[in-house]
């Protein structure tokens, strides 16, 4: 299954050339409205929150056109919905027609999901990134319809990088020009410099819990040339590279480069730090763009720039590569759905060109080619140059740096083993080597129990 991860590299964006030329594009269209669903109550378990709201606001249009009613049975964060789905699937209680899904989570659920091939035509599927669909296909069965893609560029504060005084100070202190960082070691030097000289409360931030922490470690590790597992699925993250990354994070925590409550924070919490101008540098998902740029929410609006993900620590030698932990949010239909047909219609609507386009305007990376064409055309007339630059950057990252974690059912169980150990390292409870070795030993047990070693 691992080869599919690599296939994801070839995503949507490559075929965009023509889009820029298109002039009077037709209005983007809704889909899934062509069926009479009167009297049907479609139930959906999904994640909630500000950036998903545009999607929920479009639902009345679907209800009006089809006669169906849509009931949201759960609005939780990604990890809480994962817990709910597991229990519901296990007990056959998943009595809803549409469920949230994610490329990193999907492999756990496939036994309990409905293959979607019968509900979507070739033509409908052709709109989506073939690489993601391929990754979501097991034994010829397609299990999810993608919603948006996720990958993180470096976000950095302009007030720090455009100040001549700070640049001079940095030059004097380090003998180097202050430029937007491209390597993890540069980030380390600059982040420390900003904090030690009082230019920024924190130098860097990252989420410190759950799969968010596991994923950020994974990303730094592979960017430094490492791999979590070898070809026999034996854990290898406790190698020299893994220890170096863990030491780096531990040092940041010890020296106050990252916030003291890092291990208590998830996505929203760390994004808040950047929003408040409290962080110099961080990796962040593209989807946050509109929120960061909104003066009503964030002090950092119009005060940040974006750059390609960092390459890792030099301990990795020639194997270093740009960071790009990636995946896609998606929709699935549980095998026990009472109205799978109606659920499929709702998914068609929510992933339609029009709805996807409206969300892409908030900053999400679309997974449909037609939507990419539109937002690139829009960006041509945008007032803020960053609106355009970010799309070019996103294309680059998605086409060259897109790297999903192993798409195996054990990814989340592995993460649940791994992240408390990583927290312990961060907090200084154990040494980096010790913590990673323990995590590796437990991971080996997990993989053995799951039958990976024959």
């Amino acid at each position: 299954m691992h080869h599919k991860a690599k296939l994801l590299i070839f995503i949507v964006v490559l075929m965009l050339g023509t889009g820029l030329a298109a002039q009077d594009m037709a209005e983007p269209q809704y889909a899934g409205l062509d069926m009479d669903l009167s009297g049907i109550n479609i139930r959906m378990a999904n994640i909630g929150g500000g950036t998903y709201e545009a999607m929920y606001e479009s639902i009345p249009i679907f209800e009006e056109a089809t006669g169906a009613t849509v009931e949201i049975v759960a609005l939780l964060d990604g990890f809480a919905i994962d817990q709910k789905l597991k229990v519901d699937f296990a007990t056959g209680a998943a009595d809803y027609d549409v469920a949230w899904d994610h490329t990193s989570f999907m492999a756990q659920y496939t036994d309990f999901l409905l293959p979607l091939n019968d509900h979507f035509s070739e033509e409908e599927l052709a709109a989506f990134s073939p690489a993601i669909l391929d990754a979501a296909t097991v034994d010829g069965n397609l299990y999810l319809i993608p919603r948006h893609a996720d990958i993180s560029p470096i976000h950095y504060r302009l007030d720090l990088y455009e100040s001549e005084e700070i640049a001079a100070e940095y030059l004097a202190a380090t003998g180097e020009e202050l430029t937007v960082p491209t390597t993890l070691e540069e980030i380390d030097r600059q982040a420390r410099f900003f904090v030690e000289n009082g230019h920024s409360t924190f130098g860097y931030t990252l989420a410190g819990r759950e799969e968010a922490l596991t994923g950020r470690f994974y990303e730094m590790h592979f960017a430094s040339g490492g791999s979590l597992f070898n070809e026999n699925w034996e854990p290898t993250f406790n190698d020299e590279i893994g220890v170096a990354v863990a030491e780096l994070l531990r040092g940041w925590y010890r020296d106050g480069i990252i916030p003291v409550d890092t291990t208590d924070r998830l996505w929203d919490g760390v994004a808040q730090y950047f929003c408040n101008n409290d962080t110099a540098i961080k990796l962040e998902w593209y989807g946050w763009y509109a929120w960061f740029q909104d003066p009503a929410n964030c002090a950092v609006n119009n005060n940040f720039g974006l750059a390609r993900g960092f390459t890792g620590l030099s301990v990795g030698g020639d194997a270093v590569r740009p960071s790009g932990w990636a995946g896609a949010h998606a929709f699935s239909i549980p095998a026990t759905a009472p109205n799978p047909g109606a659920g499929a219609q709702l998914i068609k609507f929510l992933s339609s060109e029009r709805v996807a386009y409206e969300e892409a305007q908030l900053g999400y990376l679309p997974v449909r080619d037609d939507v990419w064409e539109r937002i690139i055309a829009d960006a041509g007339t945008a007032r803020n140059p960053l609106d355009r630059e970010r799309l070019v950057l996103a294309q680059l990252q998605v086409s060259q740096d897109f790297k999903t974690p192993p798409l195996i059912a054990e990814w989340i169980p592995f993460s649940n083993i791994f992240y408390p150990h990583m927290q312990a390292i961060l907090l200084g409870d154990v040494s980096a080597q010790e913590g990673l070795d323990q995590a590796a030993a437990e991971t080996r047990e997990l993989m053995a129990d799951a039958g990976y070693y024959g």
């Binding site: 909630g48 500000g50 009931e71 609005l75 964060d77 007990t91 929203d268």
Partner: protein, 289 residues
């Protein structure tokens, strides 16, 4: 001063004592005050730095959003449904649990029978079982009996959960009622049931009220069981509903405060109605019998 209160004995610093008591209790109540205040403040003030202690602006925005009256935010929280479910689940389970507990408490207080101690301990200890140990097996069993997302399923659990404590309280209450009354009733020809029903039960009604407070609040505030057994928005009660304000990207503390304020109203009314009985009812027969 009411009879039964401690007689004042040479206390020159009475004022200091009163003041100290007020101070401590106000401090204890501070979180509730803070929640209500938060619900009425604009978000900018809640998150501001440096902190703003004295409210500069009062707004009903959070309530408007919750009830779907805010044109800018279309997401709304089904407060009415939470209120209905909470009231029904807590109300019905309280009446049933305290009634059953009254019967059981009477049996323990007035009779001696085989396995009495074992039965009493068994009933009491069932209360010690953590909800987390109970909720998932219950869910798996209820799921097969089609009792998930079902009001009766939830109420049944709350009844079972509240029986032990009600039994204990009522047992103490009945033991404080003089024995002579029921014996007089037997001489007048009453059987056990009518002696209980006509003579002793009316005297134990204050105890019933005390037990009802505890049962009601326990059910009203329960989270672990309902979060597992009620998996749809339509069957949820207030406590799991609080999670509507913690979503993937934002933590809407103000919205949660607004709903908490609404959630506390029935509990406050209920406690004020019965609080007169509360202290006197909490002796569990420790001094008599």
């Amino acid at each position: 001063m009411k009879p039964g209160e401690v007689v004042q004995r040479r206390r020159p610093n009475q004022r200091l004592l009163n003041f100290l008591a007020w101070l401590i209790l106000l401090l204890m109540a501070l979180p509730a005050f803070w929640i209500v205040l938060t619900a009425f403040r604009p978000n900018s003030e809640i998150n501001s730095w440096p902190p703003v202690w004295v409210p500069q602006e009062i707004t009903l925005d959070a309530f408007a959003t919750m009830f779907g009256l805010n044109p800018e935010e279309r997401m709304r929280v089904p407060v009415e449904s939470y209120m209905r479910n909470s009231l029904l689940a807590a109300g019905i389970s309280t009446v049933v649990a305290v009634s059953i507990g009254t019967l059981a408490g009477y049996a323990f207080a007035r009779f001696r029978f085989r396995f009495q101690t074992a039965a009493f301990l068994g009933i009491m200890l069932s209360r010690a079982i953590p909800g987390v140990a109970l909720s998932l097996p219950l869910f798996i069993l209820f799921n097969q009996m089609r009792l998930v997302n079902n009001f009766f399923g939830l109420a049944a659990v709350y009844i079972a959960m509240n029986i032990p404590f009600s039994t204990w309280l009522m047992d103490g209450f009945f033991r404080q009622i003089p024995q002579d009354l029921s014996e007089a009733a037997y001489i007048d020809g009453c059987d056990y049931w009518s002696a209980f029903w006509r003579v002793e039960l009316p005297l134990a009604l204050p105890g019933f009220a005390t037990a009802a407070i505890f049962a009601f609040l326990a059910a009203w505030n329960e989270f672990q069981i309902v979060s597992v057994l009620s998996r749809s928005a339509a069957s949820r009660t207030f406590p799991p509903g609080l999670f509507d304000f913690t979503e993937q990207f934002t933590f809407d503390w103000r919205g949660m405060a607004a709903m908490s304020a609404i959630m506390m109203i029935p509990a406050i009314i209920f406690v004020i109605l019965v609080q007169r009985n509360l202290v006197s009812g909490m002796t569990f027969g420790a001094t008599k019998g």
